[in-house]
C-alpha cells in the first residue's frame, strides 16, 4: 500500500474550482515533484493534503501507519517570520510541538531529536543565533530541521528554493538529495522544473491537462516535452 493515495480530488475555494480529477499515489522513498503554472493550485493541493483545508471532492488516504499529523511541512515563507525574535534552537524545537499534546514542556528525547536534526542540516553551530539574522539558505535549513522534528518519514516542501541565490539553491537541492538517500519521502513544489527534474522520481504536472507519472514517462509525454522544451529555449 502507498504512503499517500490521492483519489479524484477536486481543489478550490468557495465556488471556484482550481483543479479536478487529481489522482496519484506516493510510495515510501519517492521524490515527487509538483510543477505547473502559477495559480494552477499547487499550494492549494499541498494545503489540502495537510488537512489545512477540506477537499471539495475526493479523498486523501494515508497508509503504512502514516498519520496526517506526521507529515513535515516547509511552507512558503510568510512575512511574519522575517522579523521574528527567535533563536534557531527555539524554532527547531517547535517542530516537536505536535507530539506534545497538552504537555507544557519538551522532554529530553525531544530536545535530543531537535539537536540531531540541527546537526543533520548543518545548523547546529547556529543554534543560539537569531533566525532573522541568518541568510535565506540558512533559514530554509532551519525550517527543514524543524520539519524533520515533526516526522522522519515524509516532507512536503512548498517552493523551498524561491528567493535563494544560485549557490544556496544548489545547496538546498543537495540537502534534499541526501535526505532522499536516507529514505525520507519528498514531495516538492517547484516552478524551476529544469533544476528540479534531475532529482525527482515522479512528476505531477498541474493544469488544464494534468499529468502524473515517473520522470521518464513525463519526459516522453506531450505536456512534459512542451514544458521542458520551453525551459530550454528560454
Amino acid at each position: 500500500m502507498a504512503l499517500l493515495t490521492i483519489q479524484d480530488l477536486t481543489l478550490g475555494y468557495d465556488n471556484r474550482i482550481l483543479a479536478e480529477h487529481v489522482s496519484f499515489s506516493v510510495h515510501e522513498g519517492d521524490y515527487l515533484c509538483i510543477v505547473g503554472e502559477n495559480g494552477s493550485g499547487k499550494s492549494t493541493l499541498m494545503r489540502t493534503m495537510l488537512g489545512l483545508q477540506p477537499p471539495m471532492a475526493g479523498q486523501i488516504l494515508f497508509g503504512e501507519g502514516l498519520k496526517s499529523s506526521h507529515i513535515g511541512y516547509l511552507p512558503q515563507q510568510t512575512p511574519v517570520q522575517r522579523d521574528f525574535p527567535a533563536s534557531v534552537r527555539e524554532i527547531v524545537l517547535s517542530g516537536c510541538q505536535g507530539r506534545c499534546g497538552l504537555r507544557p514542556f519538551y522532554t529530553a528525547e525531544e530536545k535530543a531529536l531537535a539537536r540531531r536534526n540541527m546537526e543533520r542540516m548543518g545548523v547546529l553551530p547556529l543554534q543560539d543565533r537569531c533566525y532573522r539574522e541568518l541568510s535565506g539558505g540558512q533559514q530554509q535549513r532551519v525550517l527543514l530541521a524543524r520539519a524533520l522534528c515533526a516526522t522522519g518519514k515524509i516532507l512536503l516542501l512548498d517552493e523551498p528554493v524561491s528567493g535563494l541565490d544560485p549557490q544556496a539553491t544548489a545547496e538546498m537541492y543537495a540537502v534534499l538529495k541526501s535526505l532522499h538517500r536516507e529514505g525520507v519521502t519528498l514531495i516538492m513544489i517547484s516552478h524551476d522544473i529544469a533544476a528540479a527534474l534531475p532529482y525527482a522520481t515522479h512528476i505531477l504536472h498541474m493544469g488544464a491537462r494534468a499529468f502524473f507519472g515517473t520522470r521518464e514517462e513525463y519526459l516522453d509525454s506531450a505536456v512534459g516535452r512542451r514544458f521542458t522544451q520551453r525551459e530550454v529555449e528560454l
Partner: protein, 282 residues
C-alpha cells in the same frame, strides 16, 4: 522626596495601587510579542473599546463590581472577533473596526443619556484614560485583580511553547498536529482578560500602549523569544512602578505617566539596539 513617598505608602489605597499596577504590567507585557507579530494588535485595540462600552453599560445599570459584567462581554467579543477573522464573511480587520468604533460611540451615547453625574466628561475621560480608578480600588477589586493576574501568568507559562509555535508559524503548527485554533482562542481570551485588568490602570484608550511598548522595546535589543519575553516583562513592571511613583509624587495622571515612561524606555532601547547593531555590523 523619600519622606513623602513613605508617607504615601502608609495609605492602603496607594499600596493596593502599586501591587495591582505591578501585576497588571506583568500580565500585559507577556503577550505583547504575540500581539505585535500575529498582527493581533488591532484586536487588542478593538477589545479595549468594547471594554469601554461594557463599562458604560455597567455604570448605567449601577453594577457595583463592574468587572463582573465587563469581563464576560470582552471575552465573548474576543472569541467572536477571532472567529470572524477566520471566516472571511466580513474581513477580519473591517469587523474589528466596526465593533471597536461602534462600541465607543454606543458607550458614549449611553453615558450621555443615562448618566446622573454632574461631571459627564470627567467620567468619560477617566474611563478612557483611567485617570484615578487605580487609586480607588476596593479590596474586592484588588483580590479579583490578583486572582486574574495569577490565572493569566499561569496560563501563559502552561501554554508558552504552544503560544510560540502558533505565533511563529500557525500553518506549520496546524499541519503537524497542534490545535492552532484552540490556542488562538486561548490567546484571545487571555488578551481579553488582560485588557479588562489593564483598564483600571491606564484606561481603555492607553491599553494597547501598555501591551505593545515593552515588547517592541525588548525586540530592539534581544534576539530570542525567551529573552524578549523576560525582558519585556521586567521592563513593563519597572516602567509601571516608575510611572506610578512619579504620578503619586508629581500629581500627574497615572495612565499617561506610565505610557510616557514606556515610550521613553522604547526610545532608549531603540538607541541601544542601534549601537549594538552598529558594533556587530562593523
Amino acid at each position: 522626596m523619600i519622606q513623602t513617598l513613605l508617607q504615601y505608602l502608609q495609605y492602603p489605597f496607594v499600596r493596593y495601587a502599586l501591587i495591582v499596577g505591578v501585576l497588571i504590567a506583568l500580565c500585559s507585557s507577556l503577550l505583547g510579542v504575540t500581539l505585535v507579530l500575529k498582527r493581533f494588535s488591532f484586536i487588542g485595540d478593538g477589545l479595549s473599546h468594547v471594554a469601554f462600552g461594557a463599562m458604560t453599560i455597567a455604570t448605567v445599570l449601577g453594577i457595583s463590581n463592574e468587572m463582573l459584567l465587563v469581563l464576560p462581554i470582552t471575552v465573548l467579543s474576543a472569541v467572536l472577533l477571532l472567529s470572524a477573522g477566520q471566516r472571511a464573511a466580513v474581513k477580519g480587520d473591517a469587523a474589528i473596526a466596526m465593533v471597536s468604533v461602534g462600541a465607543l460611540a454606543f458607550g458614549y451615547l449611553l453615558m450621555n443619556i443615562f448618566s446622573t453625574s454632574s461631571n459627564l466628561s470627567g467620567d468619560v475621560c477617566s474611563t478612557l484614560f483611567g485617570s484615578t480608578s487605580i487609586l480607588t480600588l476596593t479590596v474586592r477589586e484588588v483580590v479579583l485583580s490578583i486572582v486574574l493576574s495569577v490565572l493569566v501568568v499561569a496560563a501563559f507559562l502552561l501554554f508558552y511553547h504552544k503560544i510560540f509555535a502558533v505565533t511563529f508559524d500557525e500553518t506549520f503548527a496546524q499541519a503537524t498536529g497542534t490545535n492552532a485554533r484552540l490556542y488562538n482562542l486561548i490567546i484571545a481570551v487571555i488578551i481579553a482578560v488582560i485588557i479588562v485588568l489593564a483598564m483600571n490602570l491606564v484606561g481603555s484608550l492607553l491599553i494597547s500602549a501598555l501591551v505593545i511598548f515593552p515588547a517592541l522595546s525588548a525586540m530592539r535589543v534581544h534576539k530570542t523569544f525567551l529573552s524578549v519575553t523576560i525582558c519585556s516583562a521586567v521592563l513593563s513592571v519597572a516602567c509601571a512602578l516608575a510611572g506610578m511613583l512619579i504620578s503619586i509624587l508629581g500629581g500627574t495622571p497615572v495612565g499617561s505617566t506610565i505610557v510616557a515612561v514606556d515610550a521613553l524606555a522604547f526610545g532608549i532601547f531603540t538607541l541601544i539596539g542601534r549601537i549594538k547593531g552598529g558594533i556587530s555590523h562593523a
